[in-house]
């Protein structure tokens, strides 16, 4: 393999004498100097010298042999090459050195027969060297050529195996695959694609990708494809429908990739097609299920909201939109009495009737849940159009529904909203329809109600007031005005009625009619009434200190709920004590109904109050229903005649004789029972004069004073 490893060279000892050995050593040294560097040999200089020493021995032996033979020189030439002394100058210098120095070093320079032997040895060495180098070169050439060819064969075999594998992958893949040229002409398709589309490969190869366009394809599909054709896009992935040869539709995930050549130019298109028809159908079914009510098969709330928001996201059919929010009347009763099964069947029947009666373009009937349905009318043409639909719906429900032998009559209440799409939102629309449905229910059911923004505003305001009232009471937004009760005989102020006001931060000063009713509904009237009572008593105490005996009583209204409050007596007592107010300076006003309609307990409370010395007055007397016989058993001190009777006593001459007669009778009655009488709503001097003539004790009204702040009222004391 490598020729340089030292080998023992046989020595012919006979020819080697001392001077000859010295000469050989000198020659070997010179030889090494001459040829080192002419070739690459992986030896140190000492190793080179060692090697050449052996070769020198061979040469000298042959030179001095009795029988001259040149074969040793031939061998030396071979060994030089084996030691990798293959450089071009190596032989040149070796031959030259042999001729110039070998005989001189051996001290045999003058022997002609040796000179001719040298020439022969030079020739033989050169021949051996040339032969060996030639063989070595041919061997190495052969070796490297075979190596390269082997490597290439190996690579080609690997390539063929690789190609075979890829072909198998292409042919056997479960996914459909096809290759087309840059114009879209189909070149190859695999079995899966043939199966998927129902065309044999021979037929597909005749076609162009564009011929597989489907009318339902999204525009983007072919837009992407154009970009791919122009090399602007390397791949795209879309969901696309294909028509099978038998006409059936196949839904696929299609990926088309552009394959470029070494220069980056488009070379092929590769399509991968995955059949997702089953998945697609399943998705459709799941989507249907997600968006429809399983009982009635109507669209459900989700679908309705989707359509509604689409209508508001620029997808509206027309500029206006309408909503019918429908709720069955009394459905719960049917459900509870006949069972849910009947209830469900009823809902199905109602759903069918709704669907039949309003079906049409731009109309969506949906079940919102329970017995609530909604009809969305896109592109409505005005209030009348939606009212017509509501009428038709109510009409469709008039015929009884037969279920399992039951004849069920159902009715529905409908809230209607119809307006322009712009300027409202889907949430507003829903909320207003919901409110309006509530109105329809509140107005008596089996009817529709049309959304009325003013009514809504009122209710919103009412709601706002009632919601903010508790906080307002804590924040001292209420205050009390006073209106005098004046003795008709001499205009002396006998008492003042406490009238609560609300200084609302948003709505301004509010009269009691705006909030007392609300307070009664919410129950806040009890703490509010107590607050007024306390304020009035506090004021009375101040007046008592200022005016002494001239101090008028304060008359405080007592609401029905207050009169039934078990804590009433204690509250009054503690408030009077708190301000050390003599009880006779307090009058409580109750309406007829509050007193007459009461059971024993409240009456007992009034008796106790009366017993304490507190005055009790019946307010607005004559407008309710009074049991006159009962009146005399009541702990009452005064009647206040309702202002409505004053109407007929306005003009001096044209007075209504009936009103005057009634007032006159009431006064007589009161006096008969030992009660004083105050007329409310006195506005003119003639009214006052007539009342005085009748014998009425006192009057209250604008003629004497409007309700005012305490300091304004004091001036009249």
């Amino acid at each position: 393999m490598t020729g340089w490893t030292r080998q023992d060279i046989p020595r012919a000892r006979s020819a080697v004498t001392e001077p000859v050995a010295a000469g050989m050593e000198a020659f070997a040294q010179s030889w090494a100097s001459a040829i080192i560097g002419t070739s690459y040999v992986p030896m140190t200089k000492a190793e080179v010298v060692d090697h050449l020493r052996g070769l020198t021995e061979l040469l000298v032996e042959a030179l001095l042999a009795d029988t001259f033979r040149t074969s040793a020189a031939h061998e030396v030439g071979i060994r030089l090459v084996e030691a990798h002394f293959t450089g071009t100058e190596t032989l040149d210098r070796t031959v030259q050195l042999m001729g110039d120095e070998l005989l001189i070093e051996l001290g045999r320079d003058g022997e002609p027969h040796l000179r001719s032997r040298i020439a022969a040895l030079q020739g033989s060495l050169s021949a051996g060297y040339a032969q060996s180098l030639r063989e070595r070169t041919l061997d190495e050439q052969e070796a490297i050529r075979e190596a390269v060819l082997d490597a290439r064969d190996h690579a080609e075999a690997a390539l063929r195996a690789s190609e075979a594998r890829f072909r198998a992958v292409f042919a056997e893949a479960a996914i459909g695959m096809g290759i087309s040229d840059t114009d879209g002409n189909i070149l190859e398709v695999n079995q899966s694609l043939q199966d998927m589309l129902g065309y044999p490969a021979s037929e597909l190869r005749q076609r162009n990708l564009r011929s597989l366009m489907h009318p339902a394809d999204a525009e983007s599909v072919w837009g992407f494809y154009e970009q791919l054709l122009h090399g602007e896009r390397d791949h795209f992935r879309v969901e696309k429908r294909f028509n099978r040869r038998d006409g059936q539709a196949v839904w696929t995930h299609l990926t088309i990739s552009l394959v470029r050549d070494d220069d980056g130019q488009p070379a092929y298109q590769v399509a991968m097609v995955e059949d997702v028809t089953d998945r697609h159908l399943l998705q459709n079914r799941l989507r249907y299920q997600a968006l429809h009510d399983p009982l009635t098969t109507l669209p459900n709330r989700a679908l309705f909201l989707e359509r509604l928001s689409k209508a508001f996201d620029g997808g509206s059919i027309g500029p206006r939109i309408g909503l019918c929010y429908l709720d069955l009347d009394g459905f719960k009763v049917i459900n509870d009495s006949l069972g849910h099964d009947i209830g469900d069947q009823l809902l199905v029947s109602v759903a069918n009737r709704l669907d039949e009666s309003v079906a049409g373009d731009g109309r969506l009937v949906a079940r919102m849940g329970g017995d609530e349905f909604v009809i969305l009318i896109e592109g409505s043409t005005g209030t009348q159009s939606i009212v017509d639909i509501a009428d038709r719906v109510l009409d469709s429900l008039t015929a009884p529904i037969r279920i399992d032998g039951h004849e069920l009559s159902v009715s529905a209440s409908i809230g209607l909203v119809e307006r322009e799409v712009s300027g409202t939102t889907s949430a507003d629309l829903m909320r207003d329809a919901d409110i309006t449905l509530y109105w329809a229910k509140a107005d008596g059911k089996s009817r529709w109600a049309l959304y009325d923004p003013e009514r809504n505003a009122r209710e919103v305001a009412r709601f706002t007031l009632s919601a903010t009232m508790p906080a307002a009471l804590e924040r001292d937004e209420f205050y009390v005005d006073y209106q005098p009760l004046v003795r008709l005989e001499d205009s002396k102020v006998l008492g003042v009625e406490a009238l609560v006001r609300w200084q609302h931060p948003e709505f301004g000063r509010l009269a009691p009619d705006r909030f007392i009713e609300l307070a009664e509904e919410t129950g806040l009237i009890v703490p509010l009434g107590r607050w007024v009572l306390r304020k009035a008593c506090q004021q009375a105490r101040r007046w008592l200190e200022a005016f002494g005996d001239a101090t008028p009583f304060v008359s405080v209204n007592l609401a029905v709920r207050q009169s039934r409050d078990p804590a009433l007596v204690n509250d009054v007592k503690s408030i009077l004590e708190e301000f050390a107010l003599p009880p006779h300076l307090l009058q409580l006003e109750l309406t007829e109904s509050a007193i007459m309609g009461t059971a024993d307990e409240p009456l007992e409370a009034l008796r106790q109050l009366s017993g304490m010395g507190v005055r009790i007055a019946i307010d607005d007397f004559g407008t309710g229903y009074s049991n006159l016989a009962y009146l005399k058993h009541l702990p009452v001190h005064e009647l206040k005649i309702a202002g409505s009777f004053m109407e007929g006593m306005r003009a001096a001459d044209g007075a209504d004789p009936v009103d005057a007669k009634i007032v006159s009778t009431l006064v007589s009655l009161a006096h008969a029972l030992g009660l004083t009488v105050t007329a409310e709503g006195v506005e003119t001097p003639s009214q006052a004069e007539r009342l005085r003539k009748i014998g009425c004790d006192a009057g209250q009204g604008w003629l004497f004073a409007r309700p005012g702040r305490p300091d304004q009222i004091e001036a009249l004391f």
Binding site: P42, K45, H84, A143, I144, A147, H154, L159
Partner: protein
């Protein structure tokens, strides 16, 4: 799949090296390019000799440290003075894995090398894990013992776009302490006109050449303890007499070399 190019019409670095070393494992196309390059830079063949001699000296040092298994990255053709031969001479039980990107090296090596103590792996030295995990590598070498990493005459052909420090670090991390690295890289002054023309000549034959500075070479050896005398010119790394004899112009050898040990 990666398909190595086998083309008899283009020159091969491995065969050019062989030619410079006096071998005949080469083709006309290799010799033409080698002769043309040598005309521009007459010291090129001598540089090849210097590489081989350094390889022998460095391997001698490494074997003295008790390391007898080697990975010769970018081995070239296993011709005279190659790592297999040197190793066998130093210690008959040595083992050498030859790695070269040229598939012909593998085919050639399989003919020349004894399968018991050497192997040839076709691969890219820039993918350390692929080389170290190659079945032939695992077959021949015992990674629980130190390994000698030989990178002689190969980094010159690794481009600057490759993160060479990271690659060498990966080799370093995967061998046990006591392992060695033997490394060379041309340091030719890139402004030298002859060099530029030579480089262009190689490039025309799709062979790119990448000299590196001493600092860059030192960076490559991060994590190794350098054997004396550190990063030096090839003619100055523990020279022997024969080298001095050959080396008439040490200043023109211009090859950085170093031997390092993983502590």
């Amino acid at each position: 799949m990666e398909r190595p190019e086998i083309d008899l019409r283009s020159a091969s670095v491995a065969r050019i090296f062989d030619y410079y070393l006096g071998g005949a494992h080469n083709f006309a196309v290799d010799r033409e390019l080698a002769d043309a390059a040598a005309k521009l830079m007459p010291e090129l063949p001598r540089m090849m000799h210097l590489h081989r001699r350094f390889l022998a000296r460095a391997m001698g040092h490494v074997v003295e440290q008790g390391v007898t298994q080697f990975i010769d990255l970018g081995s070239g053709l296993p011709t005279p003075g190659g790592s297999a031969e040197v190793a066998r001479r130093l210690d008959p039980s040595s083992r050498v894995v030859h790695v070269d990107i040229d598939p012909a090296v593998e085919a050639h090596g399989k003919r020349l090398l004894d399968a018991a103590d050497s192997a040839v792996v076709v691969g890219d030295m820039c993918d350390p894990d692929a080389i170290l995990d190659h079945p032939e590598t695992r077959r021949l070498l015992d990674f629980s013992r130190p390994v000698g990493l030989l990178l002689v005459g190969v980094l010159d052909f690794v481009g600057y776009d490759v993160d060479l420090p990271a690659i060498i670090a990966r080799y370093r991390d995967r061998v046990v302490p006591g392992s060695h690295i033997v490394l060379t890289n041309f340091s030719v002054d890139s402004h030298d006109e002859q060099y530029q023309r030579t480089e262009q000549l190689y490039r025309d034959h799709t062979i790119d050449f990448h000299p590196r500075s001493a600092a860059e070479v030192t960076d490559l050896l991060a994590g190794f303890e350098l054997a004396e005398p550190g990063v030096v010119d090839v003619s100055l790394w523990r020279p022997e007499a024969v080298v001095e004899d050959l080396d008439e112009h040490p200043e023109r050898s211009a090859v950085h070399v170093a031997v390092g040990r993983k502590p």
